[in-house]
């Protein structure tokens, strides 16, 4: 299994600010709007809930599996599927197949577009770079899971200490 760096989302940290959306839009399309971003934020403002929707770099990607033309294909070196716009016929099957809704159709071309981990950007994906809260991280799954286990353990230790003091 490849241990490429990919985007790992820590949903409980998402503030819903959409800094990621702006960075992605400006970097890829040179204009600022949600409709040209490859990452999206979903909010329930009433309840203070926010979630980030981005490409989870599935190893067995449904988006590539359903593509009729081979436009959407796994790029083994990058560890993420990429869409060749020249081959894309805009059938929307990949967008419907993605379990998270991370693929959209571009308003200018009618073709599918998705995250490419900001190929060519020295500092890595702009969404992770700009995220103020650590909700989006650019890391390997191994590193991410280790951090998660440590984080959960620290939470439990803290709660136990409070219990003792009470």
């Amino acid at each position: 299994m490849s241990d490429n760096k990919v985007l790992v989302f820590n949903q409980e940290k998402c503030t819903g600010c959409r800094s990621c959306v702006m960075g992605c839009a400006l970097y890829h399309d040179g204009e600022c709007g949600k409709v040209v971003s490859r990452v999206a934020i979903v909010r329930n403002e009433r309840f203070g809930e926010s979630f980030v929707v981005g490409c989870d770099a599935c190893t067995d990607a449904p988006c590539a599996a359903v593509c009729p033309t081979g436009a959407c294909k796994m790029d083994e070196a990058a560890g993420i599927t990429k869409i060749d716009a020249n081959k894309c016929i805009g059938c929307k099957e990949c967008a419907m197949a993605c379990p998270f809704g991370a693929i959209n159709m571009h308003y200018k071309t009618g073709k599918a577009f998705k995250c490419d981990l900001c190929e060519g950007r020295d500092e890595g994906p702009v969404c992770a770079d700009w995220c103020p809260s650590g909700a989006i991280t650019y890391t390997t799954p191994t590193v991410a899971f280790k951090a998660k286990r440590r984080g959960k353990l620290e939470e439990r230790l803290k709660a136990a200490k409070c219990g003792e003091e009470a």
């Binding site: 503030t15 959409r18 403002e45």
Partner: protein
């Protein structure tokens, strides 16, 4: 067109008409956007002696060329009107994501005028604009109406401006929200919206903001966002919200205790950001494109209010219906009161300030339970405050007096003259939780002549005197030395306030959050000029940027002058200039301080070129700013202001 959408939307609720007005290059160059556009409309279209609730009055929502872009914190919106609280110029400024959505729908500004025959809401779906029935929404809390509108329109991703029941009842300090909780709090914009029978403005925008030089824009936005990563203010605000200020306020004696009778309290930490984050913080929130994310979402976990939750509170939202009323022992009372002012839709600052005034009248025997209808307005009486906040929103009983603001309440109750001493207002508006004997002499100078009523921290937000000290050499670079980098000195304050007011005004035209340029100074004026030019493709200079700020400030000041307000009203509540700060805690740094306004005010007038007798801007300065028509308007009024008739009028509000 780059940056701007290039048009404004005017909705006439009397005629049911929707008009789209293009915005010329000259107009956009002169006023930039946001607050600039709004102030220009109010100056031109709302006569100075019109009743703010008259159907002919306007309420404006301003977005800027930078709104909805990748620059830091580009979601803010200015809501401007003739204020029902002061009768003069008023506005509020709110965060959230609605402003960006309006840009994506294709508008730089929305003007609402007239009055609908019954409650309505406006639905903007890109270029399609409808006026829809809102009778079923009237009376609802913003959180409920938000859900109902989203269900009705079949889209949970839209953004909605909303008023609460207090706005519908035209409480004089009702506020306006977007995204349920983000408030344009001050000066009573909610009541003007309610007076037009308007409940909400829902928006969906599928467009984008076009950028003239995407590479340059990316470079500057990226550079600034990298700077925020290690910024000291960002770190405090992200971790603890604006409540990170509580312990600082307490140490430096600007923590508002019992209507500013004191500036510090031993239990202040009960409501600090640190305590909040460990007890009731449910979620950290960010406004549009913000690298700071100081927003909070609070959920009360225990006690009689367990389960209550709401967006916020900010420092300025929590202290007025908390320690300002003597409530500090149980923080859950403070969070609950903030929840109430949110749900009912009232400015927490003015609501708390008005109750605080009433509590001091009660303390000093100017009112008794006879006037209050049995309510015992004793300091710290959280039970009474819990009853009173909804009464104010509904204009019931004693609440009906307080809904008018402290100065009008004093007059309607027939209280003696000295009641106004305890109302702690300038031009009818109270101040936020920043006692100028602590924060600070610059803030206080700004309070005395601020153009949205006076007692207002957001006209200058001259944090060069507080957080400025965290940025090595910043005070020197802008003002000439570091002496002003502490709150309780007069050094450099006249120039500081002049500079910061101009800077803030233009920041409000771009509609970016001033927490990136005041509080945090990670973004400075040259950075703003850089992203403004990269976005719009134009060639603004730093000089022009600051000059536009001055233009707007002088325009707003002139509107007040037309309302017959000037030098005589450039004061701060007497408590601050006469009562030495008492000791509240043993580490308090400002014990004994009084606020020396007069040492600074006349010097400040020189920076603004205001006539020392009238406080009106000089004709020369107005013409220099391209405000010849304003000079013409003021010419016959200068003598009138100095007339015996005007001097005799006791003016607490206009």
């Amino acid at each position: 067109m780059y940056g701007w959408a290039g048009q404004r939307l005017r909705v006439d609720l009397t005629k049911g008409e929707i008009i789209k007005e293009p915005l010329s290059y000259e107009y956009r160059r002169k006023w930039i956007g946001g607050r600039g556009f709004n102030s220009d409309v109010i100056y031109n279209e709302v006569p100075p002696h019109l009743d703010p609730y008259d159907p002919k009055a306007r309420v404006c929502f301003g977005m800027g060329p930078i709104s909805g872009t990748a620059a830091p914190s580009t979601g803010r919106v200015t809501v401007t009107c003739k204020s029902p609280l002061t009768g003069g110029f008023g506005d509020g400024n709110m965060g959230g994501h609605w402003g960006a959505e309006v840009k994506y729908a294709g508008y730089d500004q929305i003007i609402v005028q007239g009055r609908a025959k019954h409650p309505v809401y406006i639905w903007i779906d890109d270029d399609k604009v409808e006026i829809r029935d809102a009778r079923h929404l009237w009376g609802k809390f913003p959180r409920e109406a938000d859900q109902m509108i989203k269900e009705e329109l079949g889209d949970e991703d839209i953004h909605i401006v909303m008023i609460g029941p207090a706005g519908e009842n035209m409480v004089r300090f009702a506020c306006t929200f977007n995204d349920v909780w983000r408030a344009a709090g001050r000066t009573g914009t909610g009541g003007v919206i309610g007076s037009k029978n308007l409940k909400a403005i829902a928006v969906r925008g599928s467009g984008t903001v076009k950028i003239a030089d995407p590479k340059k824009m990316m470079d500057v936005c990226n550079r600034l966002r990298q700077a925020f990563k290690n910024d000291p203010m960002k770190m405090g605000l992200y971790e603890f919200g604006s409540l990170c200020l509580i312990n600082v306020a307490n140490r430096d004696g600007w923590f508002p205790w019992q209507n500013f009778q004191g500036g510090a309290h031993p239990l202040a930490n009960n409501m600090s950001g640190e305590t909040h984050s460990e007890t009731v913080l449910k979620h950290r929130e960010g406004c549009f494109a913000c690298p700071i994310c100081c927003g909070r979402f609070t959920q009360i976990k225990d006690g009689k209010y367990a389960g209550e939750e709401f967006g916020g509170p900010e420092y300025e939202h929590a202290v007025p219906t908390g320690p300002r009323l003597g409530i500090i022992e149980d923080a859950n009372d403070i969070w609950h009161n903030a929840r109430l002012t949110n749900d009912y839709g009232m400015d927490g600052i003015e609501c708390g300030g008005t109750i605080a005034a009433a509590m001091e009248w009660y303390q000093r025997g100017l009112i008794t339970t006879k006037e209050t209808g049995g309510l015992e307005l004793t300091w710290g009486n959280a039970e009474v405050v819990d009853k009173l906040i909804p009464m104010i929103a509904k204009r019931e009983g004693f609440g009906a007096f307080l809904a008018e603001g402290a100065d009008r309440a004093a007059d309607k109750l027939g209280l003696p003259e000295k009641a106004h001493y305890y109302s702690i207002t300038t031009r009818g508006m109270t101040l936020p939780g920043d006692d100028p004997r602590g924060l600070g002499f610059g803030y206080g100078l700004s309070f005395s002549q601020g153009t949205r009523g006076g007692c207002d921290h957001l006209r200058s937000l001259c944090c060069l005197e507080l957080s400025g000290a965290l940025y090595t050499g910043l005070n020197t670079k802008l003002l000439g030395d570091e002496r002003g980098a502490k709150p309780t000195t007069t050094a450099n304050k006249p120039y500081m306030v002049f500079y910061e007011e101009n800077q803030k005004a233009t920041t409000d035209c771009l509609q970016v959050c001033c927490f990136t340029t005041h509080w945090s100074y990670a973004v400075l004026t040259p950075d703003q000029v850089e992203y403004l030019n990269a976005c719009t493709g134009l060639d603004f200079t730093e000089e022009e940027f600051q000059e536009i700020g001055e233009r707007i400030y002088q325009l707003e000041r002139s509107y007040w002058n037309r309302c017959m307000s000037g030098a005589r009203e450039d004061t701060v509540p007497e408590r601050f200039t006469t009562e030495p700060m008492p000791q509240g805690v043993d580490y308090q740094t400002n014990v004994g301080v009084v606020f020396p306004l007069n040492d600074m005010l006349q010097k400040y007038y020189k920076y603004r070129d205001w006539d020392p007798k009238t406080g009106f801007p000089s004709e020369k300065r107005l013409k220099m700013l391209g405000l010849d028509y304003v000079a013409k308007d003021l010419a016959p009024l200068r003598a009138k202001y100095m007339s015996d008739a005007e001097k005799k009028k006791k003016k607490y509000y206009y």
